[in-house]
Subunit: 234 residues, 2 copies
DNA sequence: AGCACGCTTCGCGGCCGGGCGAAACGTGCC
DNA sequence: GGCACGTTTCGCCCGGCCGCGAAGCGTGCT
């Protein structure tokens, strides 16, 4: 049904509900080492009666988290598959996750990249911060708006006024950058702004991947706007 | 409290409970793109009233899944950190997970390890497969049984007959190996068999962890039993 | 100041679901 | 067959919490 699509709210809630009961959580944790255990043992592990345990196991079974294997008068339960095991592992060991598949192992990616069609990374954060600091960009009730003097500054820095003009009508919204943990500009404004920078040659796309490479000229012009990177580009 | 320790049942259930409500799940999903959204917008996204949404947001906040940022009369909510984002990503995209953070990053662990006191890993799978292929091990109605000629073969390969004899009376059961996705021998038979291999020096325990290290001699003797690893030990 | 608006807090009704004991079902053992 | 045992099903009670409307609080606009 849903092969690679993100789960909807009900499916996500369904998973959560299965984990939400300490008794069920205890059962799953007891099975996390890959063992296969009879219902009674899981009942003891969970600290509940046999009847209660049976109901929980039924739910976990129907929820697809467990598998069963009847043998004699025992019913041996196990985690359904390694996908479930992996899921629990990520949930149960939340602290020792390194940083997830290296969000910014690549320095170029860390510096600047596209995030859903707008600029992210250190440069994205610096752009947002610089524009806000000078008042070129302001948070309105309906989102981020580029101010008139901001438009003039962009034009003065060398962007064609035909490019700058439409930006004034667009709204942006703050988009949190995972590697930077600081806001950068997203939303329609962010998209258009990035497109403008690319168009002007201040940035160009890396041949592969999402990295965006600032040109020396682009950096100088951005500096005119108050955009400064915390550490110099290497 | 629990820095790198696995979560206990209550902590796991707590996380689950936070996800268990469709309204909360919808809010989290709405924030999964890294955006920052005011409470009202999240209420609309979740399809609940402002009061209900506020209660949910409070719970998510206290649960550590969200962060807030007051601005004017709006309160902008966002995912608490990239750890939460990674967590939701694993939960919400369960099908396209590559292979999980390498359940057997350690080659030794991948090759052979103990799984609830019996042998698992490639070697465990190969042992089970080899014995089954030669008919030394058969699936009876009550589980896996070592056949008489299997016992002889073990003895011929160098196990003391006093060690082999008790094995004939024990039953094993198939135990799914996460890294291999193939059956290996568990149950009392699996436990005793592994103990025998350790006792004979064909295997030894790694100083730390659950890895089991086969000796060269042990591998040769296992090969006599039809046990072969798919790729040679490095 | 006054109003509008976003959000939170409070109080209430309703329902889902966990817990248990008792009973039923099925299997292994003597 | 009869008993013991593991497990499931049934019926019941009760606590937690989801949902809402109404009221309270704080901020922005004019």
């Amino acid at each position: 049904m849903t092969q690679a699509m993100p789960l909807n709210r009900y499916q996500l809630a369904e998973i959560g509900a299965l984990l939400a009961e300490p008794a069920r959580a205890a059962m799953l944790l007891a099975l996390m080492d890959g063992t296969t255990r009879p219902a009674g043992e899981l009942a003891r592990a969970a600290g509940v009666g046999a009847a209660t345990a049976s109901a929980h196991l039924k739910r976990l079974l129907e929820g697809g988290l467990l598998g069963v294997h009847a043998q004699g008068r025992h019913r041996y339960y196990r985690l359904a598959d390694d996908e479930v095991a992996a899921l629990l592992e990520t949930l149960a060991l939340p602290r020792q996750r390194p940083a997830l598949p290296a969000p910014a192992a690549d320095p170029a990616l860390r510096r600047a990249r596209s995030c859903y069609r707008h600029l992210a990374g250190e440069l994205g954060v610096a752009l947002c911060g610089g524009l806000l600091e000078r008042g070129y960009l302001r948070t309105a009730s309906d989102g981020l708006r580029l101010q008139a003097d901001g438009g003039e500054a962009l034009a003065a820095a060398g962007l064609a006024s035909s490019t700058v003009q439409p930006l004034l009508a667009l709204r942006g919204r703050g988009c949190l950058d995972w590697t930077e943990r600081r806001l950068h500009v997203g939303g329609p404004l962010g998209v258009a702004l990035t497109a403008a920078l690319l168009d002007a040659g201040w940035l160009r796309r890396a041949p592969r991947g999402r990295a965006l490479l600032p040109s020396g000229d682009g950096l100088r012009r951005l500096a005119m706007l108050g955009v400064r990177l915390d550490d110099p580009p290497r």
